[in-house]
């Protein structure tokens, strides 16, 4: 597949079925490098399924997709080098300390002992966790776990970051801080592919893709979406589109 290299993620009619149920139905998107690309949709719309296919956790049923220029069917090992992934569940080891989580995830990306020690300090400082290096992860407040999970997903300096509902259950202040981090990351050239069901978060994205029942129902910048639907907020646009469907 000869996808243009400047697209971080490029899909063509990407489809995934579970038995008779079509979870993702012919999705075509092209995400630019350094873009914050938001996926918006009600629960069960297929957001997580799309992310899982792009990360190589799930094989598509049909369609084409490239991530960082590599084919998801044949080059998933190369894709894995380029991406970071943060799931809804903040996949951390609750029984290990914050530092040990960082060390482990650095280890699975093949960093050397010296690099791991450096990464540990970097992540603790960057995500405001300096005081918690040896705290047991289980005891951290949710907002801290979320920052740690993001730190672990970015340890290896990925080109593309997939964030699957990274802010669910986190308080508004922590969410605001989290989005600041996302902005900084994208400003550094990293593509951020994020799903959410918080409407105000969609306003922070460069472009928003609204999905419903596996299909794309709208895709544009937040301001143009509001303009074309004549609404004051993304929330109103969303309700308008999903209801009228």
């Amino acid at each position: 597949m000869n996808a243009p290299v400047n697209f971080s993620v490029c899909t063509e009619n990407l489809t995934r079925k579970f038995g008779d149920f079509v979870a993702v139905d012919g999705v075509s998107i092209a995400v630019h490098a350094g873009e914050i690309f938001g996926f918006l949709g009600p629960n069960g719309a297929g957001k997580t399924t799309i992310i899982r296919m792009l990360c190589g956790l799930l094989k598509p049923s049909a369609g084409k997709a490239t991530v960082a220029g590599f084919d998801v069917y044949t080059q998933s090992e190369l894709i894995k080098q380029k991406i970071g992934y943060m799931s809804q569940k903040f996949s951390l080891y609750d029984d290990l300390s914050v530092g040990q989580n960082i060390e482990f995830y650095s280890g699975v990306y093949g960093l050397s002992a010296g690099q791991i020690a450096q990464k540990r300090t970097d992540v603790l400082v960057r995500f405001g966790l300096e005081a918690y290096g040896s705290a047991i992860t289980k005891d951290l407040p949710l907002g801290f776990k979320q920052r740690l999970a993001l730190g672990c997903a970015m340890l290896h300096g990925p080109e593309i970051l997939f964030l699957d509902e990274p802010t669910s259950g986190v308080d508004p202040v922590a969410r605001r801080g989290f989005w600041k981090t996302i902005y900084d990351t994208a400003a550094g050239g990293t593509t951020v592919f994020v799903t959410t069901h918080y409407m105000e978060e969609a306003e922070y994205c460069h472009r928003v893709c609204i999905v419903d029942r596996g299909r794309i129902v709208a895709l544009d910048t937040p301001s143009r979406l509001k303009e074309s639907h004549g609404k004051a907020s993304i929330q109103d646009v969303f309700v308008n589109i999903v209801r009228s469907d």
Partner: protein, 390 residues
């Protein structure tokens, strides 16, 4: 703005070069993490190291199969010096505690029900005359077999005492066959000699199969498996990294059981420790494969635990010859025992420990065990990898 991008690209290429050359460096990262889980969970650690010792002490002391001082009712219908000498012979052995019972023979059942005796000896009226004139003398033993195991022991003790009685009367009573059994390798028939090898098979299976399947399923449950899978780690590296700490744990436990067995219970160790540990590796591989297999079917830790118990620990206890001899099982069950790895491992441990067997005497169980290990390992690793790469 260009600076950080440049820096990141540089670490990117450095990293991919690093793990192309040394994919092995990812395995220690996983193994170290798994080791931390074990250390941070004192309950698991306690189970792993205390349970074998407690089981060993229980089996070794409580499950003493030998029967001593059995109450024996003697119904002496003869009342002659000869019959009294026979009763005396029983009194002299440490197995029996005889007493005269004057009631009718039909009263013996009552004695058994009241637990006043477990065996009765009936000496016929013309005992003395028959002893003088005939070649064989009819004697009757009535044994309470509500405890079948003990009854078998009592039966054989009776025969043994009678043989001694014959011998004490010199040539007066010719015996057609003079049977003297020589009990080799465990002359005192100590239960501990029997249970230490069995416990090795049990504990190794438990740690390797049960703990690994639970450890893998836990990662699936919490979602951390997915997090590892989006990294460049390959399924095979996950397997090796995750099972490595359990292999070490299994060997530490095996050595602990051997140490307690030899030091506390004086179980002999006649063969080569190196050989035993080598063949133990084969057994541990079969157990780990079963654990992996279970983890591919189970979606939760509870299910994994139940499946591991039914699929690995139960057969190891029931169908390996650990408690029940395989030869006395129905044919269909005997056929099933051929796929139970513990069957071969028990032959190996008992052979090496009690008989001092070398590899040349253990070719058959070793070949079978290796075959089972190879098949299980191949199937389970393939299933595990496919399960992850959907």
């Amino acid at each position: 703005m260009a600076e950080p991008i440049k820096a990141r690209r540089w670490t990117g290429t450095d990293r991919s070069r690093a793990d192309r050359g040394a994919g092995g460096s990812l395995i220690p990262a996983i193994a170290r993490k798994e080791f931390l889980h074990i250390v941070y969970d004192p309950r698991t650690l306690a189970i792993v190291f205390l349970m074998p010792v407690i089981q060993l002490l229980m089996f070794g002391y409580a499950m003493n199969m030998e029967v001593q001082h059995v109450d024996m009712a003697v119904v002496d219908l003869a009342r002659t010096p000869e019959s009294q000498a026979l009763a005396q012979q029983f009194r002299g052995s440490r197995f029996f505690h005889p007493f005269y019972f004057d009631g009718p023979v039909s009263g013996i059942e009552g004695l058994f029900k009241e637990e006043r005796a477990r065996v009765a000896l009936i000496i016929p009226e013309d005992f003395a005359r028959q002893l003088r004139t005939r070649m064989t003398v009819p004697l009757q033993f009535v044994i309470d077999a509500s405890d079948a195991n003990a009854a078998a022991f009592v039966d054989s003790y009776c025969t043994q005492v009678l043989a001694d009685f014959n011998q004490s009367r010199g040539g007066e009573l010719p015996v057609p066959f003079d049977v003297r059994s020589a009990v080799l390798f465990n002359p005192h028939l100590k239960s501990s000699h029997f249970f230490v090898p069995g416990l090795m098979a049990m504990i190794l299976m438990m740690i390797s199969a049960l703990l690994t399947s639970v450890a893998i399923t836990r990662e699936k449950e919490t979602g951390t498996m997915e997090q590892i899978l989006v990294s460049p780690v390959r399924p095979r590296q996950i397997i090796v990294g995750k099972v490595l700490p359990y292999i070490i744990l299994a060997f530490a436990d095996a050595l602990l059981i051997l140490l307690v067995g030899v030091v506390v219970f004086h179980v002999p160790f006649r063969g080569s420790l190196a050989l035993l540990l080598l063949l133990t590796t084969l057994y541990v591989f079969t157990a780990l494969s079963l654990g992996l297999m279970v983890s591919t079917f189970a979606r939760s830790q509870q299910v994994a635990m139940m499946m591991a118990q039914v699929l690995t620990i139960l057969p190891t206890m029931m169908l390996s010859g650990l408690i029940f001899p395989i030869a006395s099982m129905p044919k269909a069950l005997q056929a099933v025992t051929y796929i139970v790895p513990a069957r071969y491992y028990l032959l190996i441990v008992r052979g090496v420990m009690l008989k001092g067997s070398g590899i040349s005497q253990l070719v058959e169980p070793t070949v079978f065990l290796a075959a089972v290990a190879a098949i299980l390992l191949t199937v389970s690793v393939r299933r595990f990898s496919m399960n992850l790469e959907r």
